[in-house]
């Protein structure tokens, strides 16, 4: 079950681990323009990028990181459980399958434009292997001031006890910077992804932090499309989720049946509409901010209660 999946143990480790806070990460597609740029940025943030994989470039190095031809070799020589996938969307399925076959337990799927059928297949295969996928079309995951696997900038994030889950990349950065401004540092920032299919959807993500004492509140940055917020509201009610939650939904004013940038941001009839999401949140007593800047103000009120 999802609740047994300890993402902190995988990303950061236990205090008794020799490599606590320095867990090895593999980057698939490390020599591509995107992969290479962000490998450097992740390293400078403190992530232990232990290996990269680019078929045909095995044996060489990028920024002192050894490159392997296959995931099998990379995992064997590093013992890594985490892979950041930076390959173009058409190659994502094969890359993810290879990672899961090699023993990877956490896939961070960066590419945008992955076909939904491929996402479903990878999701199912990951589940079978006891692994988890974040994304696709995600900015990644960050444990502020410790490590990040993804493409998010460093400066909006500060460490603390709030968790930010976001279906949008840039909004995750902006909201986190407002939270940081108000002293609400983050224990975790996780990009759900802007696609219709998310390896770790909102409920899965809530399960990751549900029982953690070092998390005191959750901010959910959502958007129109699908029913993730509706399902989450139901989950909050049915499972008596007790930590304060503040939500935001982008796209209230968007027209119906138009895809607003993200593959998943589209309203059909009432399915996926902002009204439906806001109504459901209100049933779960989750306040919904009108603008990103209102989020820390609402959080402050919620934490007073």
């Amino acid at each position: 079950m999802t609740s047994q999946f300890d993402i902190f143990k995988i990303l950061v480790g236990s205090t008794s681990d020799k490599d606590f806070g320095n867990k090895p990460v593999i980057i698939q597609g490390i020599t591509g323009s995107f992969g290479s740029t962000h490998t450097k940025l992740m390293k400078s943030y403190g992530t232990n990028i232990a290996a990269g994989v680019t078929p045909g470039k095995g044996g060489s190095k990028f920024d002192n990181v050894p490159i392997y031809n296959t995931m099998q070799e990379a995992v064997q020589s590093t013992g890594s459980l985490i892979s950041g996938i930076f390959v173009p969307a058409p190659f994502f399925y094969d890359a993810a399958k290879e990672a899961l076959d090699s023993g990877i337990k956490l896939i961070v799927a960066i590419p945008e434009h992955v076909p939904v059928l491929d996402s479903i297949k990878v999701f199912e295969y990951a589940k079978k292997q006891g692994a988890k996928m974040i994304g696709p079309n995600t900015p990644g995951v960050i444990v502020p001031e410790v490590m990040k696997v993804g493409i998010m900038p460093a400066q909006p994030f500060t460490k603390g006890n709030t968790v930010v889950f976001s279906r949008s990349g840039t909004l995750m950065y902006e909201v986190s910077s407002y939270l940081s401004e108000y002293g609400f540092g983050q224990r975790l920032g996780l990009g759900i992804g802007g696609d219709p299919i998310n390896g770790s959807n909102l409920i899965d993500s809530f399960e990751l932090i549900r029982d953690r004492d070092d998390v005191d509140s959750v901010v959910v940055v959502g958007e129109i499309g699908g029913d993730a917020e509706e399902q989450l509201s139901d989950y909050i009610i049915k499972t008596n989720f007790s930590k304060p939650v503040v939500a935001y939904i982008a796209g209230r004013s968007a027209p119906k049946e138009k895809r607003m940038g993200h593959a998943g941001a589209i309203v059909y009839g009432n399915y996926g509409s902002a009204e439906s999401k806001i109504n459901n949140y209100s049933k779960a007593n989750v306040p919904v901010a009108k603008s990103p800047r209102e989020i820390p103000l609402l959080l402050k009120e919620q934490l007073k209660k």
């Binding site: 969307a89 058409p90 434009h113 992955v114 076909p115 939904v116 059928l117 996402s119 479903i120 297949k121 999701f123 199912e124 493409i151 998010m152 900038p153 460093a154 400066q155 909006p156 976001s166 279906r167 949008s168 990349g169 840039t170 909004l171 995750m172 950065y173 902006e174 802007g194 219709p196 299919i197 959807n201 940055v221 958007e223 699908g226 029913d227 993730a228 399902q231 935001y248 982008a250 796209g251 209230r252 004013s253 968007a254 027209p255 049946e257 138009k258 895809r259 607003m260 940038g261 993200h262 593959a263 998943g264 941001a265 009839g269 009432n270 399915y271 009108k290 603008s291 990103p292 800047r293």
Partner: protein
């Protein structure tokens, strides 16, 4: 990509799903040929990608020759939800003894495909409780499950095998063509028990098109959408007079909402993605400049590695080369913002520290000019 009805029916036919005899016409003369081929009566159906055709009068029965021209012309020029038809389908009427509803859709929260079926065809499926929902594994529907659904719908014995076959075909289509939705509303059961699809609503996963050359012919983009997609921008044309440009879909949507809350009207949604450089902003402004209603441009950029001065340079270049001639109101969070402010002094572009200030200024500007 939502297919037009006739395109969806072309796919249906490829998979052995029967549809009534029909003829596609884009003008009256072509339509007349269709009437000769089909004979009266038939139905005229506007080919649109939006719903609500029936209610809008964009589907009409045509019983005799004298009705044809006026009805055809009426539908051909009838806008539904702002959309004009891309052709009129003339379709032979069939003798219906019963109607059903059937769809297979991508179930986002369950992360699988789900069947919805109902013994009431032609209804708004969201509004009816009389329906069967069944999740299906990727490897397919088995016969037992298909029979179960058919039993729940009380399908009579002489139509059962036809229904099961149709269900298999539709699922095969969804997986092989990578559809997010394939809906038949209604399926008609004819007096001999055979089944025929009277409508087709098929939505293809745009992101899968790279491996479906046969479906690329159905792509239909406006000139501006083509220009935007060449630059890898996400672009949606809207009705208002304030063009909105930003980096990140969520950020641009959120900007749209704030503009609307401030009583402004967005005229475009343009997300130019990750990299904010002189070149990207210049090209984005180039796309926007083609929109006739735009009175002002709102730029909202947020990111760790945005060089504000480079963006300012792109805006200045766009003015210099007469790409744009309306004011720009910008919030650009990034490095070198003081330098950017100085660069923009004396131009028609202005930089603000917060998005709220930029929005207030742009709304005030368009509402007073």
């Amino acid at each position: 990509m939502r297919l037009l009805e006739y395109q969806g029916k072309e796919l249906f036919n490829q998979y052995g799903i029967k549809t009534p005899m029909s003829f596609l016409a884009s003008n009256v003369d072509e339509g007349k040929k269709g009437t000769q081929m089909l004979g009266f009566p038939f139905v005229l159906k506007s080919q649109l990608t939006v719903g609500g055709r029936g209610k809008a009068g964009a589907i009409q029965k045509c019983k005799e020759p004298s009705e044809f021209e006026p009805k055809f012309n009426d539908i051909l020029h009838k806008e539904v939800k702002g959309e004009l038809p891309r052709g009129i389908l003339l379709e032979k009427m069939v003798d219906i003894s019963k109607e059903l509803y059937l769809s297979i859709f991508l179930n986002r929260s369950k992360r699988c495909f789900t069947i919805i079926a109902s013994a009431e065809g032609g209804v708004d499926i969201e509004q009816t409780d009389n329906k069967v929902m069944q999740d299906i594994p990727l490897d397919g529907i088995d016969l037992e499950l298909a029979n179960e659904i058919s039993n729940k719908l009380n399908i009579s014995d002489n139509s059962k095998s036809g229904f099961v076959e149709l269900l298999f075909s539709l699922f095969k289509l969804v997986i092989e063509k990578e559809a997010e939705l394939a809906e038949i509303n209604p399926i008609a059961i004819l007096s001999d028990g055979s089944l025929i699809a009277l409508d087709a609503k098929v939505i293809i996963d745009d992101n899968s098109l790279f491996r479906h050359d046969d479906l690329k012919k159905y792509l239909y983009l406006s000139e501006l959408e083509i220009q935007a997609s060449k630059n890898k921008f996400s672009f949606v044309e809207l009705d208002g007079d304030i063009a909105i440009i930003g980096n990140g879909a969520g950020l641009v949507m959120s900007t749209l909402d704030m503009v609307s809350d401030a009583n402004g009207q967005a005229g475009s949604f343009l997300d130019f993605g990750g990299k904010a450089t002189s070149e990207t902003i210049y090209k984005a402004l180039g796309v926007i400049s083609e929109l006739p209603k735009i009175k002002a441009i709102l730029v909202n950029l947020y990111g760790g590695i945005v060089r504000t001065d480079l963006v300012a340079q792109g805006i200045l270049d766009a003015y210099k080369n007469n790409i744009i001639n309306v004011p720009v109101f910008a919030r650009i969070s990034g490095a070198e913002s003081e330098k950017a402010k100085q660069m923009l002094q004396g131009s028609r572009a202005k930089l603000f520290d917060t998005v709220e200030e930029a929005i207030n200024a742009v709304v005030l500007n368009v509402n007073t000019t």
